[in-house]
């Protein structure tokens, strides 16, 4: 019997199980009820987390931009997101003329659902996880497709050219970036020999970010692009596309997209923490599973803060830069690293742990340097502007492909 202060969730689960069995509920129905209760609790917790996230993000972005951020409602503006949510409830629902009602109304729900479905397989601590799926990583990648479907439906159902254009280029971006994302997610799979997220977590005696820093970087970049946040926020580039696929949505329906965006951002941080930062692992997490939950949340919180920092400091990419970065840099790099790391790890596996770590680190550094050489030798061949003279515009500094002369290409 688990003790409450060691592992509260398991304690409550067993208590609920015994309660149902003592009421004479058959064992298989008790299982169904348990899963349903678990799902409702998990979803509620995830959505409540979004409220906190909204506040944190607005406050931090405010500080970065030398503003105060929300500071009127509640202490430090803590209740501002709640006020916003209540406000959004009261707004009018507008359905544009000629819109296809079913896709139009289905899209926001599907968008949130796709983000929430990921939470079902995350191992939150040594004992707490939703579904114990042996193909967890594949599931994560598969569920992302539902989000893409939601965006297409939103763009198409709105009967609006801006929305359709926004949806088309969002989906182009999402499909493109899922290639390097998948390839770099295969590296933890190779190290642990399993697609099971719990097994991957347990295999991280040394965090995989130490063994494979470059794939981790690729995964982080690709997942930022996957959730459509700055600097990859072309899907809703305010100054270019009005608001992308969500332009016709108002009130609560827009709120759904908004919540889905923040939820996805935290979800990819969670996935990154599980795959590369050791998940719930940490001192004492085996015997006190509740500590593991705290560790996981701290780790994904740090990744999330990093994403806020990206958003606050990087200017937006152009669409051709987004595609160049993906297909000319990240995808080849991820493919080469996948093969090189597989070979290297095969030979280094029998050696001392320290030798293995150093060897893999060297290989990562080497791959990065070779790519940097190749790209900078191609620098002369980069596309030239034909129609207009080069003007000094703010350009996102790409560490890998940027030239020394700054804005000029």
């Amino acid at each position: 019997m688990a003790v409450f202060w060691q592992d509260p969730i398991t304690f409550l689960r067993l208590w609920l199980e015994n309660l149902l069995l003592s009421w004479g509920v058959p064992a298989d129905w008790a299982l169904v009820i348990r899963f349903a209760v678990g799902a409702v609790l998990l979803v509620t917790a995830a959505l409540l987390l979004v409220i906190l996230q909204l506040w944190l993000e607005r406050k931090l972005i405010g500080r970065i931009q030398d503003r105060l951020g929300p500071n009127r409602v509640g202490p430090w503006g803590l209740l501002q997101p709640i006020a916003d949510v209540l406000k959004i409830f009261t707004k009018e629902h507008i359905t544009p003329a000629g819109a296809d009602r079913i896709p139009f109304n289905l899209a926001p729900v599907l968008s949130v659902a796709a983000a929430l479905m990921v939470w079902a397989v995350i191992p939150f601590s040594a004992t707490v996880f939703g579904a114990d799926l042996n193909v967890g990583i594949l599931y994560l990648l598969a569920v992302g497709a539902l989000g893409e479907l939601a965006i297409i439906l939103a763009g198409w159902g709105s009967n609006n050219k801006y929305a359709l254009l926004g949806a088309l280029r969002t989906v182009a971006q999402l499909i493109s970036y899922s290639v390097p994302m998948t390839l770099s997610a295969l590296v933890p799979v190779m190290f642990s020999g399993s697609l099971h997220l719990s097994v991957i977590t347990r295999a991280q005696e040394v965090w995989f970010i130490v063994l494979a820093p470059v794939p981790a970087l690729i995964f982080l970049t690709a997942s930022v692009a996957e959730v459509g946040r700055a600097p990859f926020d072309l899907p809703e580039a305010e100054s270019e596309l009005v608001a992308g696929y969500s332009v016709e949505y108002s009130g609560l329906k827009f709120g759904f997209f908004y919540v889905a965006e923040f939820l996805k951002a935290f979800t990819v941080s969670l996935i990154f923490a599980v795959l590369f930062l050791g998940g719930w692992r940490g001192p004492g997490a085996e015997s006190y599973p509740v500590l593991g939950f705290v560790y996981l949340m701290l780790k994904s919180g740090i990744v999330y803060l990093l994403m806020i920092l990206f958003r606050g400091t990087l200017p937006r990419f152009r669409i051709d830069q987004v595609m160049d970065l993906n297909w000319k840099v990240l995808t080849p790099l991820a493919l080469i690293l996948l093969m090189v790391i597989a070979l290297a790890d095969y030979f280094l596996r029998g050696t001392l742990p320290l030798v293995r770590i150093l060897g893999l680190l060297c290989i990562n550094g080497l791959a990065y340097l070779v790519l940097d050489r190749v790209l900078s030798s191609r620098e002369r061949l980069r596309r030239r502007l034909v129609a207009q003279p080069v003007r000094p515009v703010a350009r996102p500094e790409n560490l890998i492909t940027s030239s020394d002369v700054g804005g000029r290409s």
Partner: protein
């Protein structure tokens, strides 16, 4: 009835009615959406059979790729927003063929259940990914079909690049 049977019944009902609605809906886009529901229902059936790998592959391949391609094709075709006739002229013929195939399959499965070797229950803890992965690259297993399929996909990829390639001199 056990909970699993109820779950199966509800899923089967949703899947089959979604399939019927897919055939009978007037708009192409709605048909694609009903197809998504039917495919999801099949994924749930795989889950209830404890074949999680197949459930996830169903989601990844059918919804993640095929359905999105179908939706794109519908969006890019003309008159996709207009309502068409409920059924196309070949509907009854197609229904007849599908009915015959269904009856034949049911007959085969019933005979198999009667006389064939009983299937072994593998249990929830059985990891089906490792044997599958090994079978795909094993020369005794399915290495040759696997390689043939990948060559086919490569050919399709090269063909797509060739068709989409912008030739110098023509156009911009």
């Amino acid at each position: 009835m056990s909970a699993l049977q109820w779950v199966f019944l509800v899923t089967a009902l949703i899947t089959v009615s979604a399939a019927v609605m897919m055939v009978a809906s007037r708009r192409m886009m709605h048909a694609a959406l009903w197809l998504a529901v039917a495919l999801l229902g099949v994924a749930v059936v795989f889950v209830t059979l404890e074949a999680s790998f197949f459930a996830v592959v169903q989601l990844l391949v059918y919804i993640g790729s095929i359905l999105i391609i179908i939706v794109f094709a519908i969006m890019l075709t003309q008159r996709s927003t207009e309502a068409g006739p409920r059924l196309n002229p070949f509907a009854w013929g197609a229904a007849g063929v599908a009915g015959v195939v269904w009856a034949a399959l049911t007959y085969i499965f019933i005979r198999w259940l009667m006389s064939g070797t009983p299937l072994q229950e593998l249990g929830a803890s059985f990891d089906d990914v490792v044997p599958l992965g090994k079978a795909l690259v094993d020369a005794e297993g399915f290495a040759v079909p696997f390689e043939v399929a990948s060559v086919l996909l490569l050919a399709a990829l090269i063909g797509a690049v060739y068709i989409a390639f912008e030739r110098r001199g023509e156009g911009s």
